[in-house]
């Protein structure tokens, strides 16, 4: 087993990986940009190396700097986390070339699954169903127009090198196509350095359900069941759960088998996720893409199966066989995860960077908060705004929702805006509670919420709570006034504190 692992990432995932290292008696090594010198992931590491200025292209994406750091500290392996270089085949290759172990699949497998067009081709070849669309990047707007007309609107434009909803655009009519095409290309170029875009028919009321797979270097490939990720905003997942509310053993079995087939087709090793669109009406499923890395939403699978996926990744990378067999995988209870973002839900989810002045994370039965920040930390404009993943577990979905509601109410973050208020509303939403989910959930939720807000009566409790808010605001104003006044007076508090420390210094001298 490895003695030392360098974690080529930041934030909550770097913290998560460091925890698995600690569990296994492995020494975690951090890398950081200038902006992250005091970050939590640095504080929790045994060693830390600065790799450049704040922008990620000059630090977390600098392959040679990261490998240099790994060589300097004599780490045997590099864990890429997710995002940044996690799905960069050149990085995996460079790590291998330096004689180090990349904790993830081989560069060859990543290349095959890395672009959606190539992944689609493999899925088709291995008999896994796919959504109608192009397998090659579009060469021009005219071609996009032609292809879209072929199977009709709505269509989806997607970055060939994409993921995480970036460079992805729903186009409902031909008039929208030109500007959507340009934006998708430019976002793809900015985010992935590759502006290639392809087009797919959009499935109506689709559910986004993915299968976690795991493969070792000895030919064992298993699946750990599904995650329902239908609650998406801007095509980015915000709430994920396991099992899917529409799960049944048969569907899981069929999707699991398809996912394993896709993984085998590229001789996959390590943790991977095969994403499917599932028609809510027909329960037909279509291969979307394969993510050749750990997923943000891995905790829900961990909570339900009991398997530590990061620990398993490290074991498999070290050449050990999987620690469990397919027939040993059991799903117990229900888990739900919310991605807590530094974004303002009341202001069109605009990013809300800034200093975290107050932080109280929830705890208690069935609650797991994988955070990456502390009070006093600065949420920087340079990186992804996710500050934490809050996951809960319950014996049933109902119990999990109860715990999620409690945990969200307990969660307090000051200084920046977060998506917590938005989640508090969602967990009280009838459709969410009843598990009626599809990728259009959020927009319908907003419509319901606005209609409800217009008819809400204000109760006595609400009035009192609001009055207390006003009293606190007034107290704060009063305190600020008094402080300002005392700062102007020679006998103020600040003055006396200075005098006191002066006197103490005198005492020490004597």
């Amino acid at each position: 087993m490895f003695r030392k692992i360098l974690i080529a990432n930041r934030g909550e995932i770097a913290v998560r990986v460091a925890r698995a290292c600690r569990d296994m008696g492995i020494s975690p090594v951090a890398v950081f940009s200038e902006a992250d010198a005091g970050a939590l992931h640095v504080r929790l590491a045994d060693e830390a190396y600065e790799i450049g200025p704040a922008p990620s292209v000059e630090s977390y994406l600098r392959i040679e700097r990261i490998i240099e750091a790994a060589e300097r500290c004599q780490a045997e392996a590099i864990h890429p986390g997710y995002g940044f270089l996690a799905e960069n085949a050149d990085f995996a290759q460079a790590v291998a070339d330096a004689g180090l172990t990349f904790i993830g699949p081989t560069a060859a497998a990543m290349r095959l699954m890395g672009t959606k067009t190539s992944a689609r081709r493999i899925a088709v070849e291995s008999g896994v169903p796919v959504v109608p669309g192009t397998t090659d990047p579009l060469s021009s707007l005219d071609e996009a127009r032609r292809v879209a007309a072929g199977f009709g609107y709505p269509v989806m434009l997607k970055a060939a090198a994409g993921g995480g909803g970036k460079g992805m655009r729903l186009v409902t009519s031909e008039e929208e196509l030109p500007s959507a095409f340009e934006t998708a290309q430019s976002e793809a170029a900015a985010a992935f350095g590759n502006s290639e875009v392809y087009i797919e028919k959009a499935i109506e009321r689709p559910r986004h359900i993915e299968i976690q797979i795991f493969a070792d270097q000895h030919g064992n490939v298993v699946h750990l069941g599904e995650r329902e990720c239908s609650i998406q905003r801007r095509h980015q997942k915000v709430i994920e759960e396991c099992p899917s509310p529409i799960n049944d053993a048969d569907l899981r079995e069929r999707m699991g088998a398809a996912a394993v087939k896709a993984a085998r087709a590229v001789d996959y090793t390590g943790a991977g996720t095969v994403e499917f669109l599932v028609s809510d009406a027909t329960r037909e499923f279509y291969f979307l893409e394969m993510n050749t890395r750990l997923q943000v939403e891995h905790p829900v699978t961990e909570l339900v199966t009991g398997v530590d996926l990061v620990r398993e990744q490290i074991r498999v990378a070290a050449g050990e066989p999987l620690s469990f067999k397919q027939e040993e995988v059991a799903w117990r209870g229900h888990a739900i995860e919310c991605r807590v973002y530094a974004e303002d839900p009341e202001n069109n989810f605009l990013p809300s960077p800034g200093r975290i002045t107050h932080l109280r994370s929830p705890a208690g039965p069935g609650v797991r908060d994988d955070g990456g920040v502390e009070a006093g930390a600065e949420v920087s404009i340079y990186y992804d705004p996710m500050i934490s993943k809050l996951a809960v577990w319950g014996r049933t979905r109902g119990e999990a929702v109860d715990r999620l509601r409690r945990a969200l109410d307990e969660y307090a973050v000051g200084g920046i805006k977060t998506t917590l208020p938005f989640f508090r509303q969602i967990v009280r939403d009838r459709d969410f509670i009843e598990g009626r989910l599809d990728t259009g959930f959020i927009s319908r939720f907003f419509a319901r919420r606005d209609a409800a807000a217009a008819s809400t009566e204000v109760g006595e409790d609400d009035t009192k709570r609001r009055d207390m808010a006003l009293i606190a605001a007034a107290l704060d104003y009063l305190t600020a006034q008094q402080q300002a006044a005392s700062n102007h007076q020679p006998q103020g508090q600040e003055q006396s504190r200075w005098r006191l420390s002066g006197r103490m210094a005198l005492h020490r001298r004597s």
Binding site: K166, T183, S186, E187, A190, A191, R234, A342, N347, N348, L350, P351, S352, P353, G354, T357, H358, I381, Y382, Y383, D384, P385, L408, D409, Y411, A412, G414, G415, L420, P421, R424, T463, K464, R465, R466, D467, M468, A469, L470, I471, A472, A473, A474, L475, D476, Y477, L478, T479
Partner: protein, 168 residues
Amino acid sequence: MKLIAEIAGAQHEVEIGRDRSRVVAQVDGRRYEVEALASRPGVYLLLSEDKVYECRVERGAARRESLEVAVGSHAYAVTLTDPKRLRGTSQSGAHAGGTAQIIAQMPGKVVRVLVEMGAEVEAGAGVVVVEAMKMQNEIKSPKAGKVTSINVAAGATVNAGDLLAVIE
């Protein structure tokens, strides 16, 4: 001390007196006796008739008088005016005189400017695309009108509150 507080467009009169931790307050004539504990700056634990209200007060970045008060999991945007000082609540800015100032709401980088000087735009039309935290955000015009000023170019770095463009 008497203050005028505005929440969601409604004005409330707040009168407050403090003797150490004991606070007597009147909000629109409703009288409260409250035990107030301020263990940390900006965090006030209020006990009123055995009910617990943990309140966190944050000052807005743009204007000192705009506060955000979180009570448990509820949040209120409050604008305070001290009648004695006549500060705060100047409503000029955003929509005064039929002009709309397009302001950057977050720090970031200008990716594209979608309009030209003198162009007529519809309400809701994209004006500038600003990228922050890997997301491109299209900043839209709140009203229909003519572009009378463009204050940024693609590639520029902007801070929250910076003027991007003006629509008249």
